[in-house]
């Protein structure tokens, strides 16, 4: 799984989510809109139905009024008059309601405008007939009914009502269709939208599954790689340890065997020195014998230097000089071999992890160098230090080497100030040994840790072993060390050691 693919996948997911959100929003808005429209349509349908009802009701009231009028004219019973009045009183509101209901439709309004006066006219006519009948003028009343004027008006009203009903029927069909369409639209909109969402969710699930499968595969691969890596590391570590042991043995044997011929060289050089005395004594004697009688007897000058002259004296001096160089070189070589031997011996020593009061240990070291510190006018300050579990001897050697160095390479004429600090970080203890001494040129920072290499002015005795030894010890203790320094500003040596060192984590670390 490459980072590029990961980014593409993330973008895809976001796009999917956004699309889903948009679809959902559209569906919601559309649904709300369509439902409102459907409701509106339904209201119109209801209005149409109500209009039709009202038309029928109006007609019914007219008919009722007519039949009541006829009944009264025939029988003169007051019941019919009451019926009539009731029908007449209901007609007016019915017509008003109808005009309200059809106010939106100008065609209906026009028809209604014709119908209303006709209806009122008819009612007035009925009322007149009833009045005539009630005042015993039955003939006049019958006459009016017989004239059939009312019948024509009634038929006209009937036609008008039919017209209105037809119009309302047309509207009803239209509006029902509209309402149906709205509802169908709303339903299909919801359906399609839901389908979309389901499809998007499906794609999303598919992608997520594909991703998790890819991730599982990658994880499995990673696990395998880790296992392989660990195996490889173990193998390499074993190889390295073997190689290291071999080098240790090699160094030990070589340095040991180098000493053997050195013993001979030194021994026979001393023999030569003795011979030199004898030889030049004889040369002196011979020279004297040639020139004159000896000033002193031969056997009395055993220990004294023979008196030599001219070329003989020159020869003797050359001889002495040669021997001197040989001897000093041998002494130097002996020191180096001893150093290598000690280093390899140190490398073979088994470490014993013990709990160490670091401050106490360093105070002990400082006490042993108190004399040098006083000579160099240096103060050594110790800040609180973390305690660690490590090898005591190794730790002593590390710190005493570094403190020795700090004291040794102070600036002339400047009171020394050596500071030892400590802190902990992630299971490691970090110690800083800071001085205000002469400092180390950055180009020499690596060199100073090499065996037999030194840096700066060579005005102090030393073999160039201390720091190499310290670094070897720190490494064996599972730590690291570094230096930060500039010329003339002092140096800080930093040692990082595991707080809890043991053989097992040494093996793991190495």
């Amino acid at each position: 799984v490459t980072p590029d693919a990961t980014r593409r996948g993330a973008i895809g997911q976001i796009l999917l989510l956004a699309a889903g959100l948009v679809v959902l929003t559209v569906i919601s808005a559309g649904s709300v809109y369509l439902v409102n429209r459907a409701r509106e349509d339904a209201r119109w349908v209801v209005r149409t139905v109500e209009s039709e009802n009202q038309i029928s009701f109006t007609q019914l009231q007219l008919r009722r009024a007519e039949s009541a009028q006829r009944g009264f004219v025939l029988t003169l019973q007051p019941n019919f008059q009451t019926d009539f009045e009731e029908a007449a009183s209901q007609l007016a509101p019915a017509l008003t309601r109808l005009s309200e209901l059809t106010s939106d439709n100008p065609a209906q309004k026009r028809v209604l405008d014709q119908m209303i006066p006709l209806s009122h006219q008819r009612i007035e006519e009925f009322r007149k007939t009833i009045e005539l009948a009630r005042t015993q003028r039955l003939n006049d009343a019958a006459q009016i009914v017989r004239e059939d004027v009312g019948r024509a008006a009634m038929n006209h009203i009937y036609d008008l009502a039919g017209e209105m009903r037809a119009e309302e029927d047309r509207l009803f069909v239209l509006r029902t269709t509209n309402a149906d369409r709205s509802q169908t639209l709303a339903a299909s909109m919801t359906g399609i939208g839901s389908g979309f969402v389901v499809v998007l969710a499906g794609i999303s699930i598919f992608l997520v599954r594909r991703w998790s499968r890819a991730r599982d595969e990658a994880e499995a691969l990673l696990r395998d790689n880790n296992l392989n890596l660990e195996a490889t590391i173990d193998e390499r570590t074993a190889d390295l340890r073997e190689a290291n042991d071999e080098i240790q043995r090699f160094a030990y044997i070589v340095s040991h065997d180098l000493r053997s011929p050195l013993v001979n060289i030194m021994g026979f050089t001393s023999e030569l020195e003795e011979l030199r005395g004898d030889i030049f004594k004889r040369i002196a004697a011979l020279a004297r014998a040639e020139t004159s009688a000896p000033l002193v007897p031969d056997n009395a000058t055993d220990s004294a230097e023979p008196v030599l002259e001219g070329t003989d004296k020159q020869l003797s001096e050359d001889f002495t000089e040669a021997l001197g160089f040989i001897k000093s070189s041998i002494a130097k070589m002996d020191r180096l071999i001893t150093a290598i031997l000690n280093l390899t011996r140190e490398g073979r020593r088994e470490f014993q992890p013990v709990r160490i009061e670091t401050r106490e240990l360093i105070e002990g070291i400082v006490a042993t160098v108190a004399h040098q510190a006083a000579e160099a006018e240096a103060q050594i300050r110790i800040e609180p230090l973390p305690n660690i579990v490590s090898d005591r001897l190794a730790l002593e050697q590390i710190f005493s080497n570094l403190i020795d160095n700090a004291l040794k390479y102070l600036k002339r004429g400047v009171p020394g100030d050596i500071l030892i600090r400590g802190r902990t970080k992630l299971g490691f203890a970090i110690f800083d040994i800071t001085d205000n001494g002469r400092g180390i040129d950055p180009k020499d920072h690596q060199r100073i840790f090499d065996l037999f290499r030194r840096a700066g002015t060579q005005d102090k005795p030393g073999q160039g072993i201390g720091l190499a030894h310290v670094r070897a010890l720190v490494r064996r203790l599972g730590g690291t060390m570094s230096v930060a320094s500039e010329l003339h500003t002092g140096s800080t040596f930093t040692i990082t050691l595991p707080i809890n060192w043991s053989f097992s984590n040494r093996n793991k670390a190495s």
Binding site: H256, R259, S260, P261, V263, N264, M266, G267, A331
Partner: protein
Amino acid sequence: MSKPVTIIMIEDDEGHARLIERNIRRSGVNNEIMPFTNGTDAVNYLFGSDGTGLNHKGEALLILLDLNLPDMTGIDILRRVKENKYLKSTPVVVLTTTDDSQEIKRCYELGCNVYITKPVNYESFANAIRQLGLFFSVIQVPPAT
């Protein structure tokens, strides 16, 4: 002591052997010195053909032993000498270049009488050898004639 002490010098380096011999002589010890340059010859001489050491019964010997021999380690010779009932009272002086404290300890545990590290410094080497001579005189080695 009727017989003079014979010094058995087991040293593979001829230069060392010569230096040791000279310094022994210089310190006034004139005993016979039998040099061996390898372990096998020395062992054959010390323990004889039957390997029992019977042939040296009652002889006064002193062994100068180098630990680094080409064919065996001096430690083995030391152990065999100190385990042999005829030779175990023979003084053994270990002379070697190793100043490893572990090895020194081991030699003393095995019964070595003196352990001398061959110093490169000629003066101290000569001193050590002379002290060896002193040691000979302490055990009253009559000088050979």
